[in-house]
């Protein structure tokens, strides 16, 4: 029941928020997101004692044999945790801002939260598909209505990309459904008897959908534009949580349902991911736009995670799962600071920045910490995940690990270059007038930094949480 509650709270409050005017919207959505966080923490304690209680099943459309089946395993819980931590942080960061048509803005944000939680908890393919799309539609409207000047065409491209991918996945779902005797349940999907030849092409129907969402090269072209043009809170949702939908879907749906297909195309998927890592890192180095730089860095990081997933051994899988959480936290921290900087000095061009360290020391220090976490410095949360992923990838094939490893160096190059341009160097009239972090912003970024260090020193709870899932995935007969 807790799982259903976790979907219903943002869904219902989101619909109510639509009707509210003025500051009521942001207060209500903050309260709603905090309530979701509390429920997730309760769910966590329940997961430790009685995990079965988190499952919920009820008949939905008897004609199709589909059930509203939601529940949580370790990975699902971890991603719900990521979602429910991120939303209050996002709402706190933007609390002082007043959006035009605030009711609709916050309402759509909450609806996308409901969609995300639904995706992470669905154990029925049709339910999964519904939530997959439900998460997309509000984000489409958010980006288009509150985004930059090119937001409408850019977001439309994003929509068409993801919608096409989703539809292909739908064909795959329908096909597997027709072969498994009329059920969408995850358990039945995973025990299908599809031949290797069938799995081989079904793999691409699913993979393209997930690769677009992550995004993996060459399906990534929507991403930098969309991140750049979206309002920053939406970019946080997109880059912090929504890209994890793709990774999550590969682990939950692609590998267990189509193990033979995945085995056949494993190498191709890794090659695409590795190309993406190097390619995105190189572009990130050349960027002069702060938002685009972070967008490309995100492609590189996700590329590594996707390569590690397909390496499919215990270490790489554990690495990916903890990194899904850590990357989410880090990138949201990074976007928070970008949002602050951009709001204060009204530019996102790196060449027009500089000297912030002198005038806004708190901002500068936090930016350094989050950036270091983002390049996975030891003792920050990013390290453990990245270490596990590289080690898993190395086990699979040292060459892939070596090429992907170049990304670590490239990441250091672009992040340090970014830091140098933003906070050091000569200040100009605009950056000299910058106001340091305010109370709410300090609190939000403080939470992020606390998580960065706590998980950097002591990642065990997180590793334990995802342990069962990674073992389960590894137990799949991959050949």
């Amino acid at each position: 029941m807790l799982t259903v509650l976790l979907i219903l709270i943002p869904l219902i409050t989101g619909l109510i928020t639509f009707g509210t005017k003025g500051p009521g919207a942001k207060v209500l959505s903050l309260l709603s997101s905090l309530a979701s966080l509390v429920i997730t923490v309760i769910a966590w304690t329940q997961f430790e004692t009685a995990p079965d209680a988190l499952q919920f099943t009820v008949d939905w459309i008897p004609q199709l044999g589909t059930q509203f089946n939601v529940g949580m395993d370790g990975m699902g819980l971890m991603l719900c945790l990521l979602t429910t931590i991120s939303f209050p942080l996002i709402f706190i960061t933007i609390f002082s801002r007043d959006y035009e048509r605030a009711g609709a803005f916050y309402g759509l944000m909450l609806l996308s939260q409901a969609g995300l939680i639904g995706v992470f908890t669905a154990y029925d393919a049709l339910v999964f598909y519904m939530f997959w799309e439900l998460a997309l539609i509000p984000v489409y409207f958010l980006c288009s209505m509150w985004g930059g000047e090119r937001a409408v065409p850019v977001t439309f491209k994003f929509f068409v990309y993801t919608f096409t991918g989703s539809l292909l996945m739908l064909v795959g779902i329908i096909y597997i459904y027709s072969q498994t005797g009329g059920s969408f349940s995850w358990a039945i999907f995973t025990s299908n008897q599809l031949s290797a030849a069938e799995q081989s092409w079904l793999f691409w129907l699913f993979f393209v959908a997930f690769a677009i969402k992550m995004p993996v090269f060459p399906f990534h072209t929507w991403q930098p534009d969309t991140y750049e043009q979206s309002p920053t809170p939406v970019t946080m949702v997109l880059s912090g949580i929504m890209v994890k939908m793709g990774l999550f879907a590969v682990i939950r749906w692609l590998l267990p349902v189509l193990p033979k297909g995945a085995y056949m195309w494993q190498e191709a998927a890794i090659v695409l991911s590795v190309i993406g890592i190097i390619y995105a890192s190189c572009i990130a180095i050349m960027q002069s736009d702060l938002k685009r730089l972070i967008a490309y860095s995100s492609i590189a990081h996700i590329g590594l995670m996707s390569a590690a997933i397909f390496a499919n051994n215990e270490q790489s899988m554990q690495g990916v799962m903890v990194q899904m959480f850590n990357h989410g936290i880090n990138i949201i921290g990074l976007w928070m600071l970008v949002e602050v900087i951009q709001n204060r000095i009204n530019t996102k061009n790196l060449n027009e920045m500089g000297g912030i360290a002198t005038y806004a020391p708190k901002l500068a220090i936090t930016l350094v910490i989050v950036s270091f976490a983002n390049i996975a410095l030891p003792l920050t949360n990013g390290f453990i995940g990245e270490f596990l992923m590289f080690s898993g990838l190395f086990q699979y094939n040292p060459w892939f690990a070596a090429v992907a490893g170049v990304a670590v160096i490239l990441a250091a190059v672009y992040m340090l270059r970014m830091l140098q341009k933003v906070i050091f160097g000569e200040a100009n009239a605009q950056t000299a007038a910058i106001v340091d972090l305010k109370a709410g912003e300090t609190f939000a970024i403080g939470v992020v930094i606390a998580v960065i260090f706590v998980l950097g020193f002591y990642p065990k709870p997180l590793l334990e949480l995802v342990n069962t899932t990674s073992l389960l995935v590894n137990a799949i007969n991959f050949k």
């Binding site: 409207f141 288009s144 096409t164 329908i174 096909y175």
Partner: protein
Amino acid sequence: MNALISTAVFGIVLMFTGLFVKNRQHIKYYAVAGTIIAFIANWFDAQLVTNGTVILHNMVEVSKFSVLFNAVAIATTFLYFVLCGSAFEKAGDDVADYFALVFFILSGITLSGSFNNLLMLFLAIEIISIPQYILAGVDKKNLKSNEASLKYFLMGSFTTGILLMGIALVYGATGTFNIREMGLGTGDLSPLALCGVILLGFALAFKVSAAPFHFWTPDVYDGSPSVFTAFMATVVKAASFIAFMRLFHVSFAGGNLSAHWQLIIALITATTLLIGNFTAVFQQSVKRMLAYSSIAQAGFMLFAVVAMNEMAMQGIILYAAAYSIATIGIFAIMLKLKDYTFEGYNGLARKHPLLAVVNTIFLLSLAGIPLTAGFFAKYFVLSAAVQQGQLLWLVILAVLCAAVSAYYYFRVIIAMYFKTGDAETSEPITTGFKSVLVVGAAVIILLGMFPNLLLQFL
């Protein structure tokens, strides 16, 4: 059967209301009452068929399926009258006659789901078509309307010829008009029968505006008064599909014959999807876009004809409901606007937020986005085709076309929400109109979450 009688009788009644009712606005209420009575009459039919089908003189067969389809058709006509009824007056002077003609079409529609004999099929199609030729041309002073009417009439009569020829050939091969007794699905295949079936297929493909028999559609839909286009493109089209399915499902399914016509219809489906979707992208007026989109949607409905299984039957019912409600809703809103181009919608969200939201829900449904009825409609027909086997290429083509369709449906959404403009309505929007639209949107979402609400009656 009751539905057939009541709609025909009410058609005649409405013809006389023109003589006796002086206030033309009141005629709409009589028509609305007529649909309610027809719905109740149809409900009595439902009681009759709880234990199976009822066959009347070997001519008409009332089944659960036909009763359910009649209910959908009558309910959507009710919605159509309530939302668009006041626009009848603007189309021309003889308001009562227009309503009467719509009722006659409706009686043809009720026959299209329950004919048991090829002659009845012929009658159903002609009863549906002839009033439409008239309705297309009621705007007598408008050249485009005249052209639409004439074009529709000429093409329609031509098709009638093909249809008759097909019936004659099939009769020649089997010696019967009764679709249950033809038994074309079994045994050896006679060339005569095959030719007949193909001619019938072509004639029906014309009626549902499937490519390459679609050329009349955009001109006729564009030229006819919009209020009648709304009806032609929705309920009527769904009925033609039901007739199509019934004929092929009952008498031509199975054996050697199926392999032939299924291939032909699969190719027609592919062409329809490609032409409908890609041409819709380039339209500048929403009305023409909807005309092409109706071709595109016909492509999806054709999946039900190709697949011909249990799921296809469920799918076509759901499709009829989802597509008709959404399109009637969009037309109703369009009828209130001054400008039918995409620019005419600019800024509608600011001026009339409710209209924009409801229109968005309808458009999302047409695009097949989950949580709207359109999603399950598409889902069922595509599933039916996958179940049938060997049609996966067509299904993948269809989903790619669905992605293309998002482009032109979203153009309207983009215009309403993200473009600045002053979308002007030609008349004030009443609360009653808004509430009916909201009910329509609610039905779309309810069916999008629980398609079973409708399918349980099957």
